[in-house]
Symmetry: C2
Subunit: 353 residues, 2 copies
C-alpha cells in the first residue's frame, strides 16, 4: 500500500468494493495453474497428498479432517453433495493484492489507454494525476475520485467490449514487483485446495468485493471457477435493443457492493444456500465467515494470514483496505483456522521452483 497513505486509506468507503472491482486477474494466453481441475471434469479420486504445497501442521490437518468427516457416508458430520458450498474471497485469498489491488492497475492502465479519446482528462482530476503518474494526487479525491475512475473504465460500454479490455490488459500488463502477469500471481496452495474440494463434491464460488465481470474474464482459466460461480460487485446494466446485435450496456451506477455485510447478501442472491466452507483474508470477509460459521452442522472458515514479507507481502492489523483485525480477534470464538502463509505454505505462486 505504499502509494496510498493517510486519510484516503483510513476512510471507510461505502464504495470500497470499487477499488476491489479491479482486484483479480487472469489468463487468456497464460500458463494454466498446474493443478487446476475443470468444474465439468471433477476428479473423484483423492491423491495421496491432496495438498502438496501445504506443510504438515494444524492448518492442513484441519482442512483434511473437515473434508474427510463431511464427505464420509455415515459420519455424524456428513454433508450432502448438494449442500457442499464453498465460498472464497479473491483478493489476498486466491491471488495477491499488493502493493495495490490488481483491479486498480487495470483501471489505471485503461485510463491511460482511453486518454486519446478523452482529451479533457489531461486537465481534470482524477484523470490528470493518473496520466501524469501522480496517483497520490489522483486518489486524494477519495471515494468520489475512485468512483469516477471505476466508472470511466467499467461502464459506458457493452459487456463484450469490457471483457475484451480485461483480456487484452491481462495478456500484457505485469506486476510492478514480480514482473509477472497478474493472473500468474495466484496462490498455489489455494489452487490445490480448490481442486481438493471439487474432488470431494464441494462447489467453489468466488465471493469478492472485486468486479464480477472483471473476475469472470479470467477466473475459469485461473481457478477452474466458471463465470456463474463468480459473485462480485457490479454496475447496473441495460439491455439495449438499438445495438446490432442487441447487447448489454454497463451503466455508471453501482448495482451491488459485494463487500463486508454485503457478502452474505451476495451469497444468498447468487447461491441461495449458507456455505459450509469459506475462506477469506481480511475483515471484508468477516461477515461471510461469520454467516458460514454460525450455521448449524459442520462449518469451516479459514483466514489467509499475510505473514511472508519475502515471498509475498506482510500485512494484517494496520488500517487499510485489506485489514485483518476483527478476524484475528474472533478466530477462536468461531473456530476459524488462521493460515500462516510463511510457515504453512511451501510455495506461494505456481511459478516458483
Amino acid at each position: 500500500m505504499f502509494y496510498l497513505k493517510n486519510k484516503f486509506m483510513q476512510q471507510s468507503f461505502k464504495y470500497s468494493a470499487l477499488l476491489f472491482i479491479v482486484l483479480t486477474v487472469i489468463v487468456f494466453g497464460c500458463k494454466q495453474p498446474q493443478t487446476k481441475t475443470n468444474e465439468t471434469e471433477q476428479e473423484t479420486a483423492v491423491s495421496k497428498d491432496p495438498l502438496p504445497s501445504w506443510k504438515e501442521g494444524t492448518s492442513k490437518k484441519s482442512i483434511i479432517d473437515f473434508v474427510t468427516k463431511t464427505t464420509r457416508e455415515g459420519s455424524a458430520d456428513f454433508v450432502p453433495v448438494t449442500d457442499r458450498i464453498a465460498c472464497f474471497d479473491n483478493d489476498g485469498t486466491l491471488w495477491s493484492e499488493k502493493p495495490l489491488p490488481f483491479q486498480l492497475y487495470f483501471m489505471i492502465d485503461r485510463i491511460k489507454a482511453m486518454a486519446p479519446q478523452h482529451p479533457g482528462w489531461k486537465t481534470k482530476q482524477p484523470f490528470k494525476g493518473i496520466l501524469e503518474g501522480d496517483l497520490k494526487t489522483a486518489l486524494s479525491g477519495g471515494e468520489k475520485a475512485l468512483l469516477e475512475i471505476a466508472m470511466a473504465t467499467h461502464a459506458g460500454m457493452t459487456t463484450d467490449e469490457f471483457d475484451k479490455s480485461v483480456k487484452e490488459w491481462m495478456a500484457t500488463a505485469t506486476h510492478p514487483k514480480t514482473g509477472r502477469h497478474f493472473n500468474e500471481m495466484v496462490y498455489q496452495p489455494m489452487l490445490e485446495l480448490l481442486d481438493y474440494l471439487r474432488a470431494n463434491g464441494y462447489k467453489p464460488f468466488i465471493v469478492s468485493g472485486g468486479g464480477i465481470d472483471f473476475m469472470r474474464v479470467w477466473a475459469e482459466e485461473a481457478y477452474g471457477i466458471p463465470p456463474y460461480q463468480v459473485i462480485g460487485s457490479s454496475v447496473n446494466m441495460k439491455y439495449d435493443t438499438t445495438l446490432k446485435p442487441p447487447a448489454l450496456v454497463k451503466l455508471a451506477e453501482l448495482n451491488f457492493n459485494d463487500d463486508k455485510l454485503g457478502k452474505p447478501v451476495g451469497i444468498q442472491q447468487h447461491i441461495g444456500k449458507r456455505p459450509v466452507f469459506t475462506g477469506g483474508n481480511s475483515d471484508g470477509d468477516y461477515a461471510m465467515m461469520q454467516y458460514t460459521s454460525t450455521g448449524s452442522g459442520p462449518r469451516f472458515g479459514l483466514f489467509v494470514h499475510h505473514t511472508d514479507s519475502v515471498r509475498e507481502f506482510k500485512y494484517d492489523r494496520e488500517p487499510g483496505l485489506a485489514r485483518l483485525n476483527n478476524g484475528l480477534d474472533d478466530a477462536k470464538k468461531y473456530n476459524w483456522v488462521i493460515v500462516d502463509m510463511k510457515t504453512d505454505w511451501k510455495k506461494i505462486y505456481p511459478f516458483e521452483k
Copy 2:
C-alpha cells in the same frame, strides 16, 4: 385467468414480476418427476429416444438436430461445454400458470395463514378482500395492491423462515382445477428436455419473473436445477447480526425485476454468458430469446405455445400477464421453434397415464 379481468389484467405492471414471485412450485414431500436427473449425477449416455413424450415432428427434430450438431466434435456448429448455457422461463414454460400464476396462490394462502397475527387486515384492502374470498376487489388496487400482498408474504422475515413457509405451502396446497399439488403440474416433455440437455453437457438455468427464493425451495426436486442456477425477481436483504444466529432478513423493497428487458440483465448478473439455448412461453421472455438468438454461432429458441384447452390451458395473444404476441409475430425472423402443446406433446404432466 377467470378471477382477474379487465383493467387489472391489462395494465402493464412495473412490478408484474411480483405476481410471478409466487409462480413456481415444488415438492418436498411430493413424488419426483419421473425423468429428473440430478445435476451432480449427469448422465452421459443418451437413450434411444431422449424425448419420449414428444411426438415426432418439426419441434422434436429441431431440438435433436441442434443438440446433435452443437455437441459433435468437429462439427462446424460445435459449442464447447463451458458455453452450453440453457435458460428457461418457469411459469408456463416448465410448469402451468393458470388460472393464476401459482405464486399468487401462495400469497393468498399465506395472507390467510398470517391473518391471526394481523388483526388490522380484516378491515384493510387488499387483505380484507383476500380474507373474504373477494379477490377481484382485493386486486382492484392494481400494482400497489399486488405489491402490498407480495411484500407482506415475501418480506419481514429471514430467508429460512420464508423457505419454511414455501415448503409447508407446497406440501399442502392444491390446484383448483386438477386438485394436484402445484409442483406436480410440471411439464413432462420439458423435464425430458432438461435431462436431454444435461446429458449433452448443457447447464440449464431458470430465468423467471417469479421470486428467486420461492422457486429455489422446490426447483431442485422438481427439475434437478439447484438453487444457484435459479434466477428470478428478488427483494433486498439485510444481513442482521442482532439475530442469533446472524441471518438474512428479506426487506420490503424490490431488488430486481427479472422480467422482459430485465431477463438479459439477470442472465448477465448471474451467469455472465449469453445463452445458447433458451425456452419461454410469453412476451416476457422475448428479450431473453432475442438476446440468445442474436448471438453469434448456433443458437436455439423455443416458445411453448399453450394450445391445449383440454389437457392444460389455451391462451396466447389476448392481453394479460402471459401474453404471447410479439413472440409469435417474430418467430420466423429469429428462427424460433413454436412448440404446439396440443400436437407436439403426447403427455403434459408426469401424473398422466
